[in-house]
Amino acid sequence: MTARINPAFWFVAPALSVIAVFFVVPVAASVLLSLTDFDVYAVASRTNLRFVGADNYLRLVHEPLFWVAFRNTLYFVLVAGPLSVGVSLAVAVLLSARLVRFQSVFRTIFFLPVVATLVAIAVVWRYIYHPRFGLLNYGLSLVGVGPIDWLGDPRWAMPAIILMAVWKNFGFNMVIFVAGLQSIPDRLYEAASIDGAHSWAQFRSITLPMLAPTFVFVALITMIGYFQLFAEPYVMTQGGPAHSTLSIVLLMYQEGFRWWNMGYAAAVAFVLFAVILALTLVTMRLRRRGPVAAGVVPR
């Protein structure tokens, strides 16, 4: 009597096979690729391929351009991340204030940049940042600030990209925060008011702790997303000027698809993955030791 195949198998098999074949296998292959010196010559003939072990990784460590990309990406994550999360939280708090009507109108407006195609937005902002014809410098000139060469000055190019990224993404996190805020029971606030606490104290001792899990979640997904910065520098600056906007993924793309140093590019991609994984694990650990464990919030 042959055992019947669990019908569940047929339900998960298609999706899982797609994921296994077109994601897991390439990721594993990426590891192997990073141990070779696959390049243009190897594309011509397989015999030109050499197994080089950890050479790509060693080269990566000594390559100044990699560290520039790493630093830039870190700069982006550490500035745009908190900025984006902070702005979304602030807007979410304001939006959730009971005295505000037209909530859904505002919410729609703030969410529009999120759905707009990144490439199109990058093109628009490229012109907004134009030192002579751009709206931004014009606006600044009205308040007496001299023209800034946003995309041409190595000092200002990354801030320009940060500004655009925050503008584009804050709506997404805002929605999540709004949901989190709405789930905080009113009675907590009422009780605090009766006790005489004013709004800032209420914010600090009720809102923030209750929002902590949401906050960690938002911070995590924002960080993971921002580490993968690519389209903005690709469309707006091509990694320039003077490599000030070169991100890790952009470096991977240039090495992999422009110069076809695929072995090296795979090593770069893998290092990125390792960094993201490490930070994710750290964050998860922090969360577990978070407010619940501290006893601030009842389980």
């Binding site: 390049d39 594309v43 011509a44 490229r126 060469d149 041409g152 190595p154 091509q238 000027p241």
Partner: protein, 435 residues
């Protein structure tokens, strides 16, 4: 019953006719579709020429795909790896060594020799040479590109100079005078930091060999290169050239008209662009001149640039694609293409047909094309050129001093060439191993 029989018979006859008809049609028509990748504005304009080709050759249809220069290199390589290469493509002649190493292009000596349309002697020797790798010809020069000086004649006259500079000293003098007269917001020369041609041209003029030992190592610390490099950097350090970013190219023509800079080292496509995009007030106020030489005993060399037409080795329609190349390479078509794009023809006959050597703006190019030199013909050249601009920019922005930049450049280039050295060694070992 009889009607059914009739019907079947008629149907069968019709079917037979159809099959025969289709078969015949298939044998005689069978239009061949050629994929042709062309870059930039050439991609846009060549489609007009090809309409005539399709009329002349009814069995061949050409689909032109236009690709921006900034993405061309990666798209071609990606297409090669993905087995999605076009049958025919325009290729910058400095990229040809790379495609030869990939075995992606077809050698054309035989076709050239048997062609009624193409004559080797009619091409500028320096230009044709860039297409010859290992003794075989891999591309047919389509149009030529070399860099010369474009300058504002009126600004030069205001500074008291009547003739365009012929030596570096005269050139530097002119630039200093123009800068002095221009004020704080004006510069003397525009040198986009993403362009490798200006520093390399200066180096070649000084007689620098960019790579040594059969192109296996960088040679950028040689006194010739260092001298030329320093001259280039000093133009920025003395505020003669702005440190603008490439993203600001949009206003190049407006800036030239406004006197933001007076000199610009660029190629023939800008003859047409300048005429089109400069305001009417600028007519007659600009001109072209060959590159100044380091001193009066040399002639100013420039790069042997341009684009060629290459055949993909794996293409199934090589003969038809070759027909397209022949069509575009007749002097008449080259002249017509020149009129459409301003790209200078690669064939001297076409120059003579249009009397271009006496053309007001093109004559500088005619003179320059007699003195052009190729950059190292190796696949890694593009990478190396990119590194030159990278370190030049670092030195210009003061992040490294000249010697540090050149040392780092040499180290980087040595690293880039490591695989080449390995392959050459392996080839030499194989040679030695043979009895």
């Amino acid at each position: 019953m009889t009607s059914a029989h009739h019907l079947t018979a008629t149907l069968r006859a019709a079917l037979l006719l159809m099959v025969v008809g289709v078969g015949c049609r298939a044998r005689s028509e069978a239009p061949v579709a050629i994929e042709f990748w062309a870059m930039g504005s050439e991609g846009e304009r060549v489609q007009r020429l090809l309409a005539e080709f399709e009329r002349q050759t009814p069995g061949v249809r050409v689909h032109v795909q236009q690709i921006p220069w900034s993405a061309a290199h990666e798209k071609l390589l990606t297409a090669y790896v993905g087995d999605a290469m076009p049958d025919l493509f325009q290729v910058g002649n400095t990229w040809i060594p790379e495609f030869v190493a990939l075995n992606a292009v077809e050698p054309l000596d035989e076709r050239m020799a048997h062609s009624f349309v193409l004559q080797k002697e009619d091409y500028f020797p320096g230009i044709l040479d860039t297409n010859v790798i290992g003794g075989a010809l891999y591309g047919v020069p389509w149009y030529v590109d070399t860099r010369v000086l474009f300058y504002r004649t009126d600004l030069l006259q205001e500074a008291g100079i009547r003739l365009p500079p012929a030596t570096w000293d005269a050139w530097l003098d002119a630039m200093l005078r123009i800068k002095a007269g221009g004020g704080r917001d004006a510069y003397a020369i525009l040198l986009p930091m993403t362009e490798w041609q200006p520093p390399v041209i200066l180096a070649l003029q000084r007689g620098a060999r960019l790579l040594r030992d059969d192109d296996q190592y960088g040679n950028f610390r040689s006194p010739e290169f260092r001298g030329a490099f320093q001259f280039y950097l000093d133009l920025f350090h003395h505020d003669l050239a702005p440190r603008d970013a490439d993203a600001q190219v949009a206003n190049l023509y407006q800036d030239f008209a406004n006197g933001y800079f007076a000199f610009y080292i660029t190629g023939p496509w800008n003859i047409g662009e300048f005429q089109q995009r400069l305001p009417a007030a600028m007519t007659g106020k600009w001109a072209t001149a060959p590159m100044p030489a380091p001193d009066a005993t040399h002639s100013g060399i420039s790069t042997a640039g341009g684009a060629s037409l290459a055949l993909c080795r794996g293409s199934r329609h090589r003969d038809a694609a070759w027909q397209v190349i022949e069509f575009l390479s007749t002097p008449a078509r080259q002249s017509e293409f020149y009129r459409l794009t301003g790209d200078l023809p690669s064939r001297k006959t076409a120059w003579m047909q249009q009397d271009l050597m006496h053309d007001r703006y093109a004559q500088a190019f005619w003179q320059q094309l007699q003195h052009v030199q190729a950059t190292p013909k190796i696949p890694e050249w593009e990478r190396i050129a990119d590194k030159i601009t990278q370190y030049a920019e670092a030195a210009i922005r003061g992040r490294m001093d000249t010697d540090a930049a050149l040392t780092a450049l040499d180290a980087d280039v040595d690293q880039v060439l490591e695989k080449r050295r390995w392959l050459l060694r392996r080839g030499a070992d194989a040679e030695r191993a043979r009895p």
